[in-house]
Amino acid sequence: MELKTKINAEDGKQELTITREFDLPVELVFKAHTEPELIEQVMSNPYATAKVLKFEGKKHGSYQQQSTDSKGNVVFKANGTFHEFILNKKIIRTFEMENAPLGVQLELISFEKLTDNTSKLTTHIIYESVAVRDQVLKMPFAQGLSMAHDRMQEIMNKLK
């Protein structure tokens, strides 16, 4: 099935753009990005529970969030500052994953109304270098490989 999300990452550039059209009014897409409770729901998965520690949705405001595994270990922690916060239109913020060698990235998020019930979200991310961007792009691929490897290891262990 065709994925609704498109990624544009040009050669040798330290940026990428993620676009997605939603079957939702623009107001709801904006809300999902700006209400801590909803951010937590979207970011949580069967392996990790997301928690928004701080969220000041305004210019010069900042945010902090983390995810913990089932044992309560923090597996992901990130923070950043808002540089622009325009209701239902635009968010410009920095994003930094703590304890990861990926630097600070700049995110320009545009919310666009298409019809009353559909909208388009464009997330333009600029990284510190081309190398960092490429590393970020490859991460889910590497994780997928390592997860497959772990699963294989688990199966092999059971066979022992």
Binding site: T5, D11, R20, L121
Partner: protein
């Protein structure tokens, strides 16, 4: 200069993607490929060279001409490469859509 020759870098460029699309339907000479672009011939040659070096294109000598054709095995490798990143975002946005479709605004607001 030590240039990275990684398939992922290779297909990130729009001209190179266009070259791959052209060659996907038929084997072509460098000249025939270049005639499809407004870009200077040496630039196109450089792109072809990069695609060849990372094995997305295979060269085949036929008389005096060199023909290029697509290496489908390598193409599959690329699709597998960026897809997990796209899939991660797609999953996240699908979830956002599901959550927000069920969303009802709080009353005391």
């Amino acid at each position: 200069m030590n240039l990275r020759r990684d398939v992922f870098q290779a297909i990130a460029d729009p001209t190179r993607r266009a070259i791959l699309l052209l060659v996907a339907s038929q084997t072509m000479t460098a000249g025939a490929i270049a005639s499809n672009f407004n870009t200077a011939r040496p630039t196109v040659s450089k792109h072809i060279q990069i695609l060849t070096e990372c094995e997305l294109l295979h060269q085949e000598q036929s008389g005096r001409e060199i023909y290029y054709h697509l290496n489908p095995a390598k193409m599959k490798e690329i699709a597998a490469f960026i897809e997990p990143f796209r899939k991660m975002w797609d999953d996240r946005y699908n979830k956002l859509e599901t959550i927000m479709k069920k969303y009802t605004p709080k009353k005391n607001k």
